[in-house]
């Protein structure tokens, strides 16, 4: 996936002189902590692939200012936990500038950040926080699960006229898959059915798609046909695809790596209950991280973070197996 992201960034830099990248440790020879921006500063210069001091508020604030002034900044916050330092800029300014100005201002800003959970980084370097952002009117929030989606979503975010946050995951950077060439864009707000099935719908996104597909593989051996709906975009939210799938399967599990309590899955569950209450064969079930910080030890991570096994268990629960 890192190559797909690199491709999207490079093509955007080549296509539009107003696009630039700003963040910590992006430039060569380092090329970014996860190598996503590798080669870009050599190709496009350190003016457009711009390293900053460790200053998350200024990175996002400067990106907001540059966006308001008509550029298309792509800001990077190395690890998602660091977004806490930049939330004022994102929530109070980027998200609301268009609204508060009565439409005079536009903030075509893309913010990329990555979840580092699962590699023993501990409680301040492992959080999955997209629910914070989906809660804010004015922001768009996307979470890719495949290299192709990463390229298509990132390109759409960069050329979107609203502030978009792309939540990546360190566990996916090494994954491979086909990536369309050229200007490939996935419209924001379109979910994708990653596996078709008739018995149960698993609604998920990001890193958890892989776990859901793995659970679906296990369950197929037991005769349960699972459909995996990858939201790809939380805001805008593709309720039609979710409701269409669940109306057909009448059983649903919602899964994400973020904390289950008050997670985005709760919103999805509510939408399903409001629209399909009488048609469901079983109550909506949810899988997410347990309500605890994520400790550094592998045993603690495993105790809190969800797994393919947990998704399979909940699917068995809604099918009565």
């Amino acid at each position: 996936m890192r190559e797909a992201l690199n491709l999207a960034l490079g093509e955007a830099l080549a296509a539009d002189p107003t696009v630039f990248i700003i963040g910590e440790d992006l430039a060569d020879p380092g090329g970014g902590i996860s190598q996503v921006t590798k080669g870009l500063s050599s190709a496009y210069g350190t003016d457009r692939v711009r390293d900053t001091p460790i200053s998350e508020a200024a990175i996002v604030g400067a990106a907001v200012g540059a966006a308001v002034a008509g550029l298309r900044p792509v800001a990077e916050l190395m690890i998602m936990d660091f977004i806490s330092i930049a939330l004022d800029q994102l929530v109070n300014h980027a998200a609301k500038a268009r609204y508060m100005s009565g439409g005079l201002l536009s903030v075509p800003l893309t913010l990329r950040t990555a979840v580092f959970g699962g590699i023993g980084s501990g409680a301040t370097h492992s959080q999955t926080l997209e629910a914070w952002l989906a809660h804010i009117p004015g922001l768009k929030v996307v979470v890719p699960s495949t290299p192709a989606d990463a390229k298509g979503l990132l390109t759409s975010c960069i050329f979107d006229d609203d502030p978009c946050v792309m939540v990546e995951n360190v566990a996916l950077y090494g994954t491979s898959g086909p990536v369309p060439e050229g200007d490939f864009r996935i419209p924001l707000g379109t979910a994708d059915i990653k596996r078709s099935g008739d018995d149960v719908t698993v609604v998920t996104y990001g890193r958890t798609v892989r776990d859901a597909l793995s659970a679906a593989g296990q369950l197929a051996e037991q005769g349960v046909d699972v459909e995996v709906v990858d939201l790809r975009s939380l805001v805008p939210f593709d309720a039609d695809t979710v409701l269409g799938s669940v109306a057909r399967t009448r059983r649903v599990v919602i899964a994400h790596h973020a904390t289950r309590f008050a997670g985005f899955g709760a919103e999805v569950a509510s939408v399903i209950n409001e629209q399909l209450f009488g048609q469901l064969e079983a109550p909506v079930r949810r899988v997410g991280a347990a309500f605890a910080p994520i400790g550094s030890a592998p045993t603690l991570e495993a105790a809190v973070m969800p797994s393919a096994g947990a998704i399979a268990d909940e699917v068995r629960g809604v099918t009565g197996l």
Binding site: F20, D47, R48, T52, P53, S55, E56, A57, A58, V60, G61, A62, A63, V64, G65, A66, A67, V68, A69, G70, L71, P73, I85, D88, Q89, N92, H93, A97, R98, Y99, M100, S101, G102, G103, L104, L105, S106, P137, G138, K140, D160, D161, D162, L188, G189, V235, P236, F237
Partner: protein, 313 residues
Amino acid sequence: MYELMVVIRSCDERIRRGLSGGEFACTYWPATGQEAIAAALGTVLRTEDQLVTTYRGLHDQIAKGVPLGPLVAEILTRRAGVNRGKGGAMHISHPQTGLVLSTGIVGSGVPIAVGVALAAQMRGTDQVTVASFGDGATGTGSFHEAVNLAALWNLPIVFLCQNNRYAEMTPTVQAQPVADVADRAAGYGIPGEKVDGNDPDAVHTALGAAVHRASSGEGPTLLECMTFRLWGHYFGDPMRYIPEGELEQARNAEPVARYRHRLIGDGVLDEDGADRIGERARVSVDEAFAAALAAELPSPDDAFVDIYANEGR
């Protein structure tokens, strides 16, 4: 500059009069006392130069050229306001005149202004950006991160601190370990200067030099203008935290009467001429208020417009 100062004072007074008489209701952070700084801003900056200011921004907004009628309508949250009644007094934005935006979170406008200046530098324009903020902002992390970045990148920006002696209810002297805000410039390797912010000529000279430095590629300046906020943090502030005598002293040093006195003393204006300027300001302010008061509030449907560019959710 005198005329600008008088219009600002007249408008601020009119808002406070309307609020105390119950003629209208809105939240408001009075700017009276800080007119001299704005007058210098308004005359030094060109339309294409950019200004980011704060919720206490009436003086800066008028000085930058935001049209009075739509500005007053916005403060009174009318649909005819510059921002369709959605920004209110705290969040005025008028990019047409280079008033990029006004922020309501102390310190937050400084990084945004740095981004505006970065855009100008990257595009190779000769625009200068001014970040206008109070003494309170200089204690925030946003201020430090932003000034550091601007100094590092040699951006065409002026950090204009309107030191009005109080950050909300806390005196500046209780909130900073250095004598002056301008002293902090040394930590970023940029020039820092402190001037009498109630003297429009002094501010004009210092700001002119800082803007010149910015536009000729010499980077940022931190300019501290000493002034006083004569009506407290918010409209209705009882100002119990201000020691006895201090307010009276500050009122005696207020910039509008002082500048009028100087201009008349220097023979630039006579009493009649100064009165005519005052009368003209009152008439234009009264017209703006009459129009705004007759204008409609936004409709409930307007609450759902301009959340996104394509209105998708």
